[in-house]
């Protein structure tokens, strides 16, 4: 199977969107090769703007240009877009509800060799706490495209979390994505695995392994982290009674945090978290780093067994 990174799908599809919508402009901060906005630059050199190594100003410029009717997509690595430029995103983009699409690549540990300084494990938490912000995390190339379509439908800020690592396409070309809705990729009755990003593929593999043990696992793709699908989470709690969350992000404040907030409010149920355990990452080949930090289908299987025992 051909593998394709969500950043690659983003770069390619940006050109298609740019052909249809002439108001789309793209900002980058000296990483257009890595974020893949360079593909857009090649197609539309007059609509691609480099901010240089100045992520804060990139976000500020994107905010400003959005007031002139342009629709900016601003890209850099997640650690810089959500981290370094955080307060500009908050005050100049989210507070005035600017129509800015922030598409950050190199999220999570799968950045690999560059190590902890470049591995963003906090960006979902940082972005989802902002009023007016929509947070979308695609599981593969196909979902990336649908989320970009959805982002354009929203008159306001969107954070799109993309990855560096080439991964399998696990969702069909005609996959339907709706903001605020989870997708049930596999139904089940004993436990629910709620996953995002590259952990969705691992969640599906874990469900297959659990099936061999006679455990029926539901798999939800929760690509719309904000707004989150409360109904799907509540139904999972009522119908399966146990939840595993799986994300390439800190276990604090990200998907697991969002899921637990819903559960604690309306439908308490035991939860086990697969994610980065409140620690920084390190250098290594992406898959080896993921393995080292237990972001694997095996870890999800173990978490499922554990959470079922807590029912």
């Amino acid at each position: 199977m051909t593998k394709i990174a969500t950043r690659e799908a983003y770069g390619n599809y940006l050109v298609e969107l740019g052909e249809k919508n002439k108001d789309i402009v793209v900002f980058d901060a000296d990483l257009s090769g890595a974020t893949k906005t360079g593909i857009f630059k090649k197609a539309f050199p007059d609509r691609h703007f480099n901010a240089g190594i100045a992520e804060c100003d990139m976000m500020g410029m994107a905010a400003g240009i959005s007031t002139t009717g342009k629709i900016p997509f601003a890209s850099t690595f997640a650690i810089f877009g959500a981290g370094r430029a955080y307060e500009i995103v908050r005050n100049s983009i989210c507070y005035p509800k600017m129509n800015v699409k922030i598409a950050c690549t190199h999220s999570g540990l799968s950045v690999g060799e560059d190590g902890a300084s470049h591995q963003s494990i906090e960006d979902i938490a940082l972005m989802r706490v902002l009023p007016n912000m929509t947070v979308l995390v695609p599981a593969d190339a196909n979902e990336t495209k649908r989320m970009m379509d959805a982002a354009l439908e929203i008159d306001g800020p969107v954070y799109l979390r993309l990855g560096r690592l080439a991964t399998d396409i696990i969702l069909p070309e005609d996959y339907q994505f709706e903001v605020g809705k989870a997708a049930t990729l596999k139904d089940g009755k004993d436990v629910t695995i709620i996953a995002i990003g590259l952990m969705v593929e691992r969640a599906l593999a874990a469900a297959d392994d659990l099936a061999k043990e006679g455990i029926s696992a539901r798999v939800l793709n929760m690509g719309s982290v904000k707004p989150i699908d409360r109904a799907a989470i509540e139904a999972a709690a009522k119908e399966t009674g146990a939840i595993v969350t799986a994300e390439e992000h800190s276990i604090i404040g990200g998907l697991s945090g969002a899921v637990c907030e819903v559960l604690a409010e309306t439908t308490p149920a035991p939860v086990e978290k697969v994610g980065v355990m409140d620690t920084f990452g390190e250098s290594g080949k992406a898959l080896e780093v993921l393995e080292h930090y237990n972001l694997t289908s095996d870890a999800i299987v173990k978490a499922a067994r554990k959470v079922m025992a807590r029912k």
């Binding site: 402009v25 007059d46 609509r47 703007f49 901010a51 240089g52 100045a54 804060c56 100003d57 976000m59 500020g60 410029m61 994107a62 905010a63 400003g64 240009i65 959005s66 007031t67 002139t68 009717g69 342009k70 900016p72 307060e87 500009i88 005050n91 100049s92 507070y95 005035p96 509800k97």
Partner: protein, 269 residues
Amino acid sequence: MENLEKTAKGIRRDIVQMIGKAASGHPGGSLSSVEILTLLYYEKMNVDPTDPRKEDRDRFVLSKGHAAPVLYATLASKGFFPKEELGHLRQVGAMLQGHPNMNDTPGVDMSTGSLGQGISAAVGMALGAKISGAKWHTYALLGDGEIEEGIVWEAAMAAAHYGLSNLTAFVDNNNLQIDGAITDVMSPYPIDEKFAAFGWNVIDVEDGNDFAQLREALSLAEKCTDKPSVLVCKTVKGKGVSYMENQVGWHGKGPNAEQVAVALKELED
């Protein structure tokens, strides 16, 4: 000119009154930039109070957002919203927030308050106008303390890089910031040479509280067609209210009723 002086005086009275009523706000840096805003809104900018977001309007970004009272008083005086609103500054439910929010207040082109961010947004606006072939101009007002923020220089670099001659910035060089004189806290001097080194067309204004000098500087700025321009304006913090002038203590507090009365007497027509 006489009319502008009169208008400026009225704006000063509104500033003192609204901050006094709110018992909170930033009088010093509002009063120092009254002439800049008055000239822009009364003589320079193409704006329409009945259509605050008309597409071809000139834009103004108050990058030093804490000087919101001078912007509010100017906008109210132009008729963007009823003057009564000034009496509700910083109150729950009111349209006049402590720092400007474009979605609350008609005529405000950018939400600001976190220093340095406004100029960055202004660069984005000017870039948007340039690539669209639009003729409108973007103006931004920076504080001299504000330019200690790193993003200001990121934005300055970008404005020059993209040749944004449709952008004019003002630096309200009143020489004081919250903790003291800017030279004591963190000197940004030489301001003019810094902007020049970043590729801007720089015009020094000896007295930024003088309409004639500001007008002359703006006409010089307009002659420059390949760079953004900045007017480095020497101003007096607290200008027009004797006990506030050049007093750092009046950066961010409201005068009491007695002090308001004294100020209003000084600002009588």
